[in-house]
Amino acid sequence: MKVLVTVKEVAEADDDFAIEGTDIAESDLEYDLNEWDDYAVEAAVQLAEAGIADEVVTVTVGPERAEETIRMALAKGADRAVRVWDDALDGGFADVASKVALFEAVVDEEEPDLVLGGVQAADTGFGATGVALAERIGFEHAAVVNHLDVDADAGVAHVHRELEGGVEELTDVDLPAVLTVQTGLNEPRYASLRGIRQAQRKEIAAKDLSDLGLTADDVESALTITEMYEPESESDAEIIEGDAGESAGRLAEVLREKGVSA
């Protein structure tokens, strides 16, 4: 079985940041592997270690900068990577259908049996690409998976979906399928030194739109970010000032007033 893992390099804003136009200033952003995708990579690598997956391929939509993050996924055990980027994607805000068009083209080339990705990206927080991709490529799917047991012979993934309020839904999903992975599914490993060394020799295939048989029309976004701003604080908290000792003393008074004591 071949597993394709969608991996995103996400931007995280520093505690202090400035907004320039409709985005956070580049100098105030740090880039990292999306937390949810880290769990998806781990799930795929575990399937390989269990002898269920023969090959784990990651796919990323992102500029050359993203290769550092992709190497991290390779160092954790993915076999090779595909990185899709094109000037046509630069600067705009890609909608779900655009990303799906790119992933669809990669799925057509790679022909995976299982596609894993994070529930959402930490920066944009759409949580939609995996399920939309499943519809486009005719795969089954399950969103927000926090337990995974693949029975390759039966062609079924037994999953738990994490619903709200401490309830899990137990679902059998026919393969091929796209599963979006929730944090807590497993314990993502740290890359070993050996893994990091090996990752340097693993292939990252860079592809642009024409390599995938697509044109700029296929990735024309229906969405435009028109404004970005810091939400006004609705805080009416009493901020307790002073050094640690003083503020703890004042807080202790508040707590005693509320009747708190051991």
């Binding site: 529930v119 399920v131 799917h141 970010i225 703890a248």
Partner: protein, 314 residues
């Protein structure tokens, strides 16, 4: 063009976010001029249809289909009804189940999707307000075209109330056989302690940094006679069991006093504790959203403040 809202229910009850989605849907229908249709799929559809006949709803469509959520059935029913009632806008809850079919529905309809909306405006076209970068910023997003799928965040619109004069009808829809089958449910978070019963909670988040540092907050909980709870990352890391998790996917708690230690206050966490009587936050980041809902705050390092606080009660 009309607006179509799909209801969400679980294990025999409609979920609150359904009524909130109806309010958002009505807002759009008023802005665009058109009727508001509500679809309910599966379960006790007749009983649900009656409950869904709230003020502002023009028509309720009841689609019979099994008891539990089946994303293929929901997608097929909403897609069919969207065409049947000429819906330009489909509004769904931004819930775990909503996100299990809304994106596929959008793909099916060939319409753009915007998820997790916290506000909408309509003037020639749709503009959606939503957060980015982990709630640090808000954005407005313009949506091209006049047909779209929107999922709305829970708690952002008031629930639709009253009794309306909607027509209620059974809708026939071809439902394809599903390749995903619900086999059961599991309640998680049982065990020795029910944090929902506690009067005072000391709740610990990512700011604690290392598992061995948990001792510090355990000591604080002991000193205060409080129960220890946690935000999601602590449970994901396996440092505390799932029954200690406060938030959307964990427990909803309403103690007299909630002390958030090193918790930034992501929306999923806040959903689980905002009903607490008194909220106290200790966090290094003055912009952390936890301070927006706190009654008392200390902007400082928990590793400095917590030991002092323990001493106060020693």
């Amino acid at each position: 063009m009309s607006v179509l809202v799909a209801a969400e229910h679980r294990r025999g009850a409609l979920r609150d976010v359904t009524y909130e989605a109806i309010t958002a849907g009505r807002e759009l229908a008023d802005a665009r001029g058109g009727d508001l249709h509500v679809a309910v799929i599966g379960g006790d559809v007749d009983g649900f249809a009656e409950e869904l006949n709230r003020e502002g709803v023009d028509a309720v469509h009841a689609v019979e289909d099994g008891e539990e959520f089946d994303h293929n059935a929901y997608q097929a029913a909403v897609s069919t009804l969207a065409d049947r009632v000429d819906a330009g806008a489909v509004v769904l809850p931004n819930s775990v189940n909503g996100l299990d079919y809304a994106p596929a529905l959008a793909e099916d309809l060939g319409a753009p999707i915007v998820t997790d909306a916290v506000g909408i405006a309509y003037d020639d076209g749709l503009t959606v307000t939503r957060e980015m970068y982990g709630s640090k910023v808000e954005t407005t997003v313009d949506v091209a075209g006049d047909r779209f799928v929107l999922t709305v965040r829970g708690g952002e619109w008031p629930p639709a109330e009253g009794v309306g004069d909607a027509t209620v009808e059974a809708a026939e829809v071809d439902i394809p056989e599903s390749g995903a089958r619900v086999t059961g449910f599991e309640e998680v978070g049982g065990g020795d302690v029910d944090i929902a019963d506690a009067d005072v909670l000391v709740s610990v988040g990512r700011g604690i940094e290392e598992e061995e540092n948990l001792e510090l907050v355990e000591e604080l909980a002991d000193a205060l006679g409080a129960t220890l709870s946690a935000s999601r990352p602590i449970v994901d890391n396996g440092w505390l069991p799932k029954n200690r998790q406060v938030g959307q996917s964990g427990k909803v708690v309403t103690p007299d006093v909630y002390i958030a230690v090193g918790i930034s206050g992501a929306v999923q966490h806040v959903a689980g504790m905002k009903g607490s009587d008194t909220i106290i936050a200790i966090n290094t980041d003055p912009n952390a959203p936890i301070f927006d809902i706190a009654d008392y705050g200390i902007v400082g390092d928990l590793f400095d403040v917590v030991p002092e606080l323990i001493d106060e009660f020693a």
